[in-house]
């Protein structure tokens, strides 16, 4: 029996779970007049609802990933041999991330790519926060309505331009003979052009800019609902501006900060275009490795395993950070 068929058991399990939930719902309600799911919707309609939700949960959310999970536990085989005797469950794809299958030495290239991706994503997140917090604070609390509208427009309109065009124009700007280097040399700050692309400045700038809005809107939302009087009360009690932010604004905006940082971190760790166009020649972004496994080497099992390693690591990292800063997951999606 092919272990891949295990995937097709899942639909039955999911439907059964929804069915059970619908039946148990009325027993859980404390209100005696509460009607159960089927009483409310009728048996036919209730069944249709359950099937629709199950379809959505399965085909759009669960199954694609599940198929990849299953794939990642298999050896790489030509299509003809799939389901044959050589198609067994194995951890070798995951192992290959740590040690090279060819000579059993440490897989330094991929490990380095992995840690670089995580570290660079953290750096991008921090940089992004540093840029967005003052801006969001200004928009939410300090600026006049007209100015805030103008800033919003200035932030949003550039996103109408597609990502690749944006990345390339940034590349032109930062190139050795690009505008910025010409300016620097003309001003006499440097003699030789700075290679912004090789030292990954381009990568950081590009990624930060790509996810600016993702950071700024949660921050803006969180700070905007803060009562101005709280800020003034702190000021009146003698707090200098940075203590007001430390003690009043940031604790209040913490869920928004967590939500923005989580999204920016996840998106940069998983981004493909910006690292490809703006990274230096020696920069190996982890998603590029995954991409190559899928589309260059046609090694789907290993690509899937790598993708899941990245996903698991990112989730673990975010959970750790939320724990550290005492934010619950629920708060970040408020």
């Amino acid at each position: 029996m092919n272990s891949r068929f295990f995937v097709f058991l899942v639909p039955l399990v999911v439907i059964a779970a929804f069915w059970l939930m619908a039946n148990r719902e009325s027993k859980l309600a404390h209100d005696p007049t509460h009607k159960s799911f089927f009483e409310r919707n009728g048996t036919v309609l209730g069944t249709v609802f359950i099937l629709l939700v199950a379809f959505w949960a399965l085909f759009l959310v669960t199954l694609p990933y599940l198929y990849m999970v299953v794939e990642s536990f298999h050896p790489r085989l030509p299509p003809l041999k799939r389901g044959g005797p050589e198609d067994y469950l194995t951890l070798e794809q995951y192992k290959s991330f740590f040690v090279q299958p060819s000579d059993n030495s440490w897989n330094t290239t991929h490990l380095w790519g992995f840690f670089f991706t995580i570290a660079a994503s953290v750096a991008v997140t921090v940089l992004n926060f540093a840029i967005c917090y003052p801006l969001a604070y200004y928009m939410a609390q300090a600026g006049s309505i007209q100015k805030v509208r103008l800033i919003m427009l200035g932030l949003i309109v550039p996103y109408w331009v597609n990502e690749i065009l944006r990345a390339f124009s940034l590349r032109l700007l930062l190139a050795s003979k690009g505008l910025i280097n010409q300016m620097l040399m003309w001003l006499g700050i440097t003699d030789a052009p700075v290679d912004f692309l090789a030292n990954n400045t381009g990568l950081y700038v590009g990624l930060s800019y790509a996810y600016l809005l993702v950071m700024i809107f949660p921050l803006y939302n969180a700070i905007e609902s803060l009562d101005k009087n709280q800020i003034e009360a702190a000021r009146d009690l003698g707090a200098p501006w940075w203590k007001i932010h430390r003690d009043v604004v940031i604790p209040y905006a913490k869920p928004g900060i967590a939500s923005g940082c989580t999204m920016v971190f996840m998106l940069s760790a998983g981004s493909l275009a910006a690292p490809l166009f703006l990274g230096g020649p020696n920069t190996l972004w982890f998603t590029a490795i995954v991409y190559d496994f899928f589309f260059q080497a046609f090694n789907w099992p290993r690509g899937a395993a790598y993708a899941f390693i990245l996903l698991a690591a990112c989730i673990a990292f975010v959970m750790l950070m939320l724990r550290l800063f005492k934010v619950s997951l629920g708060e970040t999606i408020r």
Binding site: N229, E232, A233, A234, D236, L237, A239, V248, Y252
Partner: protein, 361 residues
């Protein structure tokens, strides 16, 4: 330590709009001083100017004799209690109270000691560990006061701090505030649009209207000797009678009203022919004929028995009622609805003032 506050010809403008117009005041150290006025008259603006959140467009604010120009709110010896309290919801009661000390670098043990002390003062001992959200309205109120007092201000500024409370609690907090003020002995500047609050608590009251300070004085002066038509109509109930001055001497005038000539005091030196409003308070009226020029008659529109007093409303001029309240001793022969009633008053308590803006009903 306490300090006086001096407003030296202070004007505050927002663009073209003048929110405070040439306020000139000397609030003494240790005084309980109130600003009283209708909504939007510029009370909060004055308070924010004193606390440093706004700069006067003209004039100077002095605290303890020192000009406050260029000194920010976090460096002034004032503490402000906000209209909505603005307690920090993510901090405990004790953390709220000692926040001002924390930003000044006071160490934790000293802070906790101060918190205990203040929690005793506001009658919430042992409640320091609660979150602000777990307190009742009145308790929050007191925590806000403690938080402001913790930084040992020389002047405490209170912006309608009782407006969110229900009537009973409000009356209770009035006495409490007054007693806290006596205990700490610092200047309180209190803002309210509730005249009962202003009159019962304050040493002196400034009555404001549209950014202008109309009159400053103790409660009795403001109530008994109003200087403008606005003050007379805003502070307490009053019956206005409009007309022209027909006779004027140093200590009294007669105003020709729809009910004939009526007499009253002349504090503003009205002359014959001036347009004037004569104000007679409801409790000044008595039933009966009385003396000439201090009596009128009209038909009774309605009678409202309120226990200790009975309120009568007679048909007045221009569809406005004349209100009078009769105490228990005079209540034997109160006329019924629709009957003709003759009433009189003691002219030495009535005042005639130049015609001017009146408070909206």
């Amino acid at each position: 330590m306490s300090a006086g506050v001096e407003l030296d010809h202070v004007t505050v403008r927002f663009g073209q709009f003048t929110a405070v117009d040439n306020a000139n005041l000397d609030i003494k150290s240790g005084e309980f001083f109130s600003f009283l006025g209708p909504s939007g008259c510029g009370k909060t603006t004055i308070l924010r100017t004193v606390s440093g959140f706004l700069d006067p467009s003209e004039g100077k604010v002095k605290i303890g004799g020192q000009d406050m120009a260029g000194i920010g709110p976090n460096q002034r010896p004032t503490a402000l209690i906000f209209q909505n309290l603005a307690l920090f919801p993510l901090m405990t009661v004790a953390e709220n109270i000692t926040y001002g000390l924390r930003v000044r670098g006071v160490d934790k043990t000293a802070r906790m000691k101060k918190a205990d002390e203040l929690l005793h003062l506001i009658a919430l001992p042992g409640q320091g560990k609660k979150l602000v959200g777990e307190l009742s309205g009145g308790q929050k109120q007191r925590v806000a006061i403690a938080r402001a007092l913790a930084v040992r201000p020389k002047v405490l500024l209170l912006d309608e701090p009782l407006s969110a409370l229900d009537l009973k609690l409000r009356q209770h907090m009035r006495t409490e505030l007054r007693s806290i003020q006596r205990q700490v002995g610092i200047t309180f500047i209190y803002i309210t649009h509730d005249q009962g609050e202003a009159l019962t608590m304050s040493d002196r009251v400034a009555v404001m209207s549209d950014g202008v300070i109309e009159q400053v004085g103790d409660g009795k002066a403001v109530y008994d000797r109003p200087e403008t038509a606005f003050v007379a109509s805003f502070v307490g109930e009053n019956n206005p009678f409009m007309g022209k001055v027909s006779k004027a001497t140093k200590d009294g005038v007669a105003v020709d009203t729809e009910f004939g000539p009526l007499r009253g005091g002349n504090p503003k030196g009205l002359k014959v022919g001036d347009r004037a409003i004569l104000f007679v308070r409801p409790e000044l009226f008595k039933l009966g004929k009385g003396s000439a020029g201090a009596a009128l008659s009209s038909r009774v529109k309605s009678v409202a028995f309120e226990g200790n007093i009975t309120n009568l409303f007679l048909n007045g001029a221009a569809k406005k009622d004349i209100a009078l309240s009769i105490g228990r001793h005079g209540s034997a022969d109160i006329p019924g609805q629709g009957e003709k009633a003759t009433i009189n008053y003691d002219p030495s308590y009535a005042v005639a003032l130049p015609e001017g803006k009146m408070a909206r009903e």
